[in-house]
Symmetry: C2
């Protein structure tokens, strides 16, 4: 079988060794002679997985016990509701920066729960840039931002200095680069891009940010209930969490975030340089806001699309079709994607240029 170069925007590529370990755990987990899919989440073998999955996040982010880590079902979309539900006081206001579809969805849910103030937006230019230089209201309960915008291929290169609690949806670039995690009150991420398969969402929350809203809360939407239950208030998504742990162990073993950040920069540079050099392509967003995770580009001559598609398919490339809102192409360069795959794509682009420029 030929290797597929997997540029899927998410669920996205995972390390081959993680997939092998996951496959084995489906048959015989931890030498129990039982599948991970059919054992109690209260077994000591699985409690160890949950403990490690929670502690490795704090280790990679270099934070202490002032933070708690949870893995919940429901995806980042559920967090769009849980963030204001847990942090927005009954008469308070939440500040949001709108950088695309996912930020807009977060804003929509927050508006259902309380006062919401969109303090900056790049909607005027179809989300092709990151707003900067906006004022953050000091009396808002928190500021919500999205670190990377998968659909458009933009990324916050510098996080705002926030005088109020900072909450960040990092679903599509978590653990891809060094950040100062202590600047955030909440970091959350659907696992299915950089830290595992679909089915669980990681939430890292500063404990003292909680319990201030005065709101009576449904148990499953209450971070404090899940914290008290050690992320096992109810049966957790056992297998997705295990594969997230494997993925983070792979990252740590190979050198952690410092290691992957360098490789991610190499991959992004290689592809963006080719887009800028190649006469047939152009990038879709402001250069200074280009995402190192999702590289969006278009053909100058759309009529050549079928020809280009033929070439990359022959090269065993998968998942670079652009999102319907942007069109063209989107190559997602998540942590597990090797530099080699980007080189294959760049070679295809060069070959295409030779034939059609």
């Amino acid at each position: 079988m030929n290797k597929v170069h997997n540029f899927s925007a998410g669920p996205g590529i995972l390390p081959a060794e993680v997939l092998k370990q996951a496959s084995e755990a489906c048959i015989n987990f931890d030498n129990m002679n039982l599948s991970l899919l059919e054992i109690s989440h209260r077994s000591k073998n699985y409690e160890k997985v949950m403990d490690e999955a929670r502690s490795i996040v704090k280790e990679l982010f270099e934070v202490g016990d002032e933070y708690e880590v949870l893995y919940l079902g429901g995806g980042a979309s559920m967090q769009f509701a849980m963030i204001p539900y847990n942090l927005l006081r009954e008469n308070g206001t939440a500040a949001y920066v709108n950088t695309g579809v996912w930020a807009s969805k977060a804003i929509k849910e927050a508006k259902m729960i309380g006062n919401t103030n969109v303090i900056a937006s790049s909607e005027d230019k179809k989300f092709t840039y990151i707003p900067k230089g906006y004022d953050i209201p000091k009396d808002a309960d928190y500021l919500h931002i999205t670190s990377n915008n998968t659909i458009y291929g933009t990324q916050l290169k510098q996080f705002p200095k926030s005088p109020i609690p900072l909450v960040c949806d990092m679903s599509s670039d978590i653990f891809s680069r060094k950040i100062n995690a202590k600047d955030f009150d909440v970091i959350y991420a659907g696992a299915q891009k950089n830290m595992g398969p679909a089915g669980s969402t990681m939430i890292m929350v500063k404990k003292d940010a909680l319990g201030k809203t005065g709101r009576k809360m449904l148990s499953m939407l209450d971070y404090q209930v899940h914290i008290k239950g050690g992320s096992m208030y109810n049966t957790p998504p056992v297998f997705p969490i295990y594969v997230s742990l494997l993925t983070l162990q792979w990252l740590k073993k190979n050198g952690g975030i410092a290691w992957i950040e360098k490789i991610n920069q190499q991959k992004a540079d290689l592809l963006y340089n080719e887009i800028d050099r190649n006469a047939l392509f152009f990038g879709t967003v402001e250069k200074e806001d280009r995402s190192n995770m999702n590289v969006c580009f278009l053909l100058h001559k759309q009529e050549l699309e079928a020809e280009f598609d033929k070439l990359w398919k022959e090269a065993n490339i998968s998942g670079i079709r652009g999102h319907r809102d942007v069109g063209g192409y989107r190559a997602s360069l998540y942590n597990a994607l090797p530099l080699e795959s980007v080189q294959v794509l760049v070679d295809v682009m060069k070959e295409f240029e030779k034939k059609f420029a």
Copy 2:
């Protein structure tokens, strides 16, 4: 490696062939040369899984297009909130039957959302029986029941004839016996007992039961949003749903619910007969309400526990330790548990009797 007899209360045993298919899908799914864990949920290969996973539920339950099937994250515990949120009118009342810890949790969440009337309860005798002969208020918005109570080992043998919409938590006995699914407005089940691994919850809902509350709803808690999105409003728990599909395909291929109901009856009869015959053991619940899924029993002489534990462990039996609320033993006889495993347990009980009676 010796086979383990897996009596775990949940997550519970899955068919060996399902585990093998799941393991293979982690490496190469649907001949894509990619893992199921790293492909888009919008790929045609996965959309087929989702479509089949939804349609097979309706096929097994023999219902038509008046019902919709969803698979959501968050477990049955999330449904404890979503049921009243979607079905309980702002000034309406919901009726609940309290048959144990899980029913109590459902009631707690419903009370957060609206008026809740507990019309029957077996709490007076520590949930060791199923309440019967209660009146169902005709003006309530729905009646919520729990078909099987995992912790205590009780099961509704006959469902109440309800003049109002009937909602049932079937987490621990779904697809284990013939029911008339058309009598229910909502059937829901955390997958991790009879229909798959942890991480997804199946909800089958009658479409015309929805949209009547007048409540403005958070997107992720709104069944109609998920129905509109074909259970993919957001990224679903891809792998858990796939393994649920495999489990239901295994059931269907072997003869469906009629087939498994017979085997489940044989397994339950075999074990309950031994409990009643054996001088050292006794069952913990009313005989007429005994669950065919979770068989709870105690030793007359608790001081012999260590001796019994030694015997079943030697026989490679796993997961029969009782829930802390009941103590003693609980053997869960879910669909995938073979009759052979029950025979091994019964043989151990007989051997134990010979030694210690």
